[in-house]
Symmetry: C2
Amino acid sequence: MTNSLPPTTRSLPIALMRARESVMAPIRDMLSETGLSEQQWRVLRVLAEQGEMDSHSLAERACLLFPSLTRMAATMNAKELITQTRDPNDRRRQLIAIAPAGLTIIASRVEAASTIAKSFRNKIGDEDFETLLDLLGRLSADTDTDTDTDTEETV
Amino acid sequence: MTNSLPPTTRSLPIALMRARESVMAPIRDMLSETGLSEQQWRVLRVLAEQGEMDSHSLAERACLLFPSLTRMAATMNAKELITQTRDPNDRRRQLIAIAPAGLTIIASRVEAASTIAKSFRNKIGDEDFETLLDLLGRLSADTDTDTDTDTEETV
DNA sequence: CATATTATATTAACATGTTAATTGTTGTTG
DNA sequence: CAACAACAATTAACATGTTAATATAATATG
């Protein structure tokens, strides 16, 4: 082989994982009081932002695999965090929306989440924070087609 | 509340997750031929790099939770990818090392892994790649204590 | 209209993530 | 030495990641 084993300390995947772990730690702490998992939080956040949407779009926006969403939706429906309805025009499709209990939880934690998000922005500075989001976006450039231009960050 | 719900499209955790997903996709493809998971690949990579080590250090270096490593080690030992021995000086501790079969798999894929790593470096350019690794490191600055200064990246 | 094809969702099976409880070992303190 | 505390590893229980197989609904094709 032409390459000896290089150090894992400069591995991009591992750096991404470590960074995510650091960022999620305070968020997990915040969420522990709500009984929501990170994934459930993302689902509710997306639904609160987008309104009712089909499960395929929801899974993509919330960064979840479809089978995971299927299971989560059953649980979250039982807890009345979301509602599930069939699309009357295409009964294969499922429409999911946030329910009042879900909205309540989101509303009660948005401020705390925003504070955490700002703490990371402050940790590295506004300019570098934007650079980081830009570079991360370029890594997944041809993979997904996210062309949003919003400027406010959150968790 | 003082904050309305901000867009998930500028969320740092989600950007980190999407970036990681993009980076890992080709690596997963490469690994599918070996029967190794990402996690098992990381364990073998760290062991090949560090030599025999105690499970606590291994879990930290490979970014795994301890219970996950316990289960994985049993599987990987059965497949003779690693060896497990008790520390004779402290029989609570376990020492794990890579076995010949594990080394063989690593060796057979190091070049492919290096090629994938380089493709991402090329995708955003050398300078921005270093900037990205730097910024990611600063996010987890006070969280872990990685002070390595190696320069070659890999997956 | 019957069949095949495609799309959507669910289910299955297993690995891993995650937290908490449990077991075994070492160290400490009386 | 005995009891206790601290540490390391395992196990348990449940959620999620992941891939493959299956079921159901819509569409195309003859």
